[in-house]
């Protein structure tokens, strides 16, 4: 099996070819730009948060397969979650990608994210996988600060 097969596993390819929640929200509670200066990847995240809950999330991304797939999976998992739950999931995912000493376990409802674990083998691309999530952290912070529309 080539490393490509490993990295571009079916789940990643599925999200890459059909990214979920792609697009924009007209009146978002938060809108954040994320960039990865190393490769020029860009994405815009739109959030609609109401009563501490993510009512809608949309993404437009210009980036590699890992970045696109990671953002798509994230949007699918966080839609409908409370801001606190979302923060916890982001934190867990980041630990899974960054922790070098132990394998961080994921609960069953997040098992799609397992597909991204393979990216850990390619250190330069971990940043690609994390870009949507780091942007989300910023977005969640902003959404809480801004008054409800």
């Amino acid at each position: 099996m080539s490393l490509s097969d490993d990295l571009y596993r079916e789940t990643i390819l599925d999200h890459y070819h059909n990214p979920r929640n792609h697009g924009a929200i007209e009146h978002p509670t938060a809108q954040v730009e994320g960039v990865n200066p190393l490769c020029g990847d860009e994405l815009t995240l739109y959030l609609s948060v109401k009563d501490g809950k993510i009512e809608d999330v949309k993404l437009t991304a210009k980036g590699c397969s890992i970045n696109t797939a990671s953002g798509s999976m994230m949007s699918e998992l966080l839609l409908g979650k409370s801001v606190d739950e979302a923060n916890e999931i982001v934190d867990l995912f980041k630990r899974m990608m960054l922790d070098k000493t132990e394998e961080v376990e994921l609960p069953e409802d997040l098992e799609d994210l397992e597909a991204l674990r393979g990216v850990k083998k390619y250190p330069v691309r971990i940043k690609c996988a994390l870009l949507p999530w780091n942007t989300m952290l910023e977005g969640l912070g902003n959404a809480l600060k801004s008054p409800a529309p």
């Binding site: 490393l3 990295l7 890459y16 590699c64 397969s65």
Partner: protein, 414 residues
């Protein structure tokens, strides 16, 4: 067929027998840095094991041997680029330092408010940022010669843009994105007719195309040894004697002086005025071996081999319907640097799939962000060839790109 015996050449490069996950390495990232033949690697060991000493300082045997070896490379370089004098050859740490030396030392002495510095739209950041800084410090203006659709300089525009306000024209000899070879003699004549000087960024050109600074009438030429079989950490600045003599030193300290009192110092003569401190002795000596290796092959033969393999690659890669190849379509107008994109696949994904097949290509903006913006791409993949590359390697690249297109191509438009 070119006169290069590629099979024999490959045996001189130990790294080319490297395997990655059981697959034979295919090295197609020569525009970033070339591989090194054994004679170059051995020269480093011989120096450190046999005659390591500081130069121009001791009177002991080792110091004399090291000084002779170091200084003889100046003559090797002089002959290679057909300069008039050895004292016109300055050793720097690379192209980047050589250009910074000129921008700083010549620039501060010659650029006045309102003067114009003419560059091209396809310069490497190395030949852009130093001029941006100089222009900002001296209230001068940067002017850019545009490029045509197929990545050549728009010479009709160049004729208009190079004017009486122009003080220096700083251009690449070969684009590290398009591979375009620029008309240096024509640009030098345009600059000189207006009383300006020309600096040529030869980082990509000198390793691949026979270059005579006297025939081309170049005032300053900068290039890096690591892109032409030599070690990292050595660059060359060639400058015409009168220009170098009129310039103040760049860095100062030990070694670049004649007499020093507590309050002041007088500068050493050329070339040492520009070589402050202990230089990169070992790597300069090994650089001499790299140039000897290239000279023995003959730069005309090197060029002929590269035209052949570039032509083959342009034809072969075009068979992939989904590919966009940047730069001139005619291999005789360009060097062996091919930037491309496959469908809308991100360059890093292409790089990854190539890497999985043990093929080294570059992916990204190639230190040319403004040019990438002009092309309206985030980046490109880039394959670049040298004396040891074969058609079989181009075929392997083609297969990897086909695989990339199959797995990641044809995404719905976003």
């Amino acid at each position: 067929m070119s006169k290069l015996n590629v099979e024999k050449i490959r045996k001189d490069f130990p790294i080319l027998s490297r395997k990655i996950d059981g697959k034979q390495l295919v090295y197609l990232d020569n525009a970033a840095t070339s591989q090194k033949p054994k004679v170059v690697i051995d020269a480093l060991t011989e120096y450190y094991q046999g005659y390591n000493a500081n130069i121009h300082r001791g009177i002991h045997t080792l110091a004399e041997e090291a000084t002779d070896a170091y200084e003889s490379v100046r003559e090797t370089v002089r002959a290679f680029i057909d300069a008039g004098h050895t004292h016109e050859i300055i050793f720097t740490s690379g192209t980047t330092e050589a250009i910074n030396l000129v921008a700083h030392s010549w620039g501060n002495a010659n650029i006045l408010p309102g003067d114009e510095i003419v560059l091209t739209a396809m310069e490497h950041h190395s030949n852009l940022i130093p001029w941006q800084r100089l222009a900002a410090e001296r209230s001068a203006k940067l002017v850019f010669i545009p490029i045509t659709e197929d990545g050549q300089l728009d010479m009709a525009e160049a004729k208009k843009l190079i004017s009486d306000k122009t003080k220096i024209v700083a251009v690449t000899q070969m684009s590290n994105v398009f591979g375009t070879i620029t008309p240096i003699k024509e640009l030098a004549d345009l600059a000189h007719a207006r009383g300006a000087v020309i600096l040529v960024d030869g980082a990509q050109g000198v390793p691949h195309v026979k270059t005579s600074v006297r025939e081309l009438d170049i005032d300053f030429l900068a290039f890096s040894m690591h892109k032409m079989l030599g070690p990292t950490g050595v660059g060359i600045l060639y400058g015409k004697t009168d220009l170098l003599n009129a310039m103040p030193p760049f860095q100062s300290g030990g070694h670049m002086i004649t007499t020093v009192t507590r309050d002041k110092a007088t500068w050493a003569e050329l070339p040492w005025k520009f070589e402050a401190g202990t230089r990169n002795i070992a790597d300069v000596i090994a650089s001499g071996k790299a140039i000897e290796y290239l000279s023995a092959l003959g730069m005309d033969n090197v060029r002929e081999h590269e035209i052949e393999i570039t032509k083959y690659a342009l034809d072969k890669l075009s068979e992939l319907g989904d590919i966009t190849i940047f730069g001139p379509k005619d291999a005789t107008l360009r060097g062996g640097v091919i930037a491309f994109n496959v469908d809308a696949i991100h360059a890093h994904d292409i790089g990854q799939i190539c890497a999985d097949a043990a093929i080294a290509v570059r992916a990204g903006h190639h230190c040319c962000q403004p040019l990438m913006r002009d092309l309206n791409v985030m980046g490109t993949a880039r394959a670049s060839f040298y004396i040891y590359n074969t058609r079989e390697e181009v075929d392997l690249l083609f297969e990897a790109l086909k695989e990339a297109d199959k797995v990641l191509g044809h995404v719905a438009v976003r």
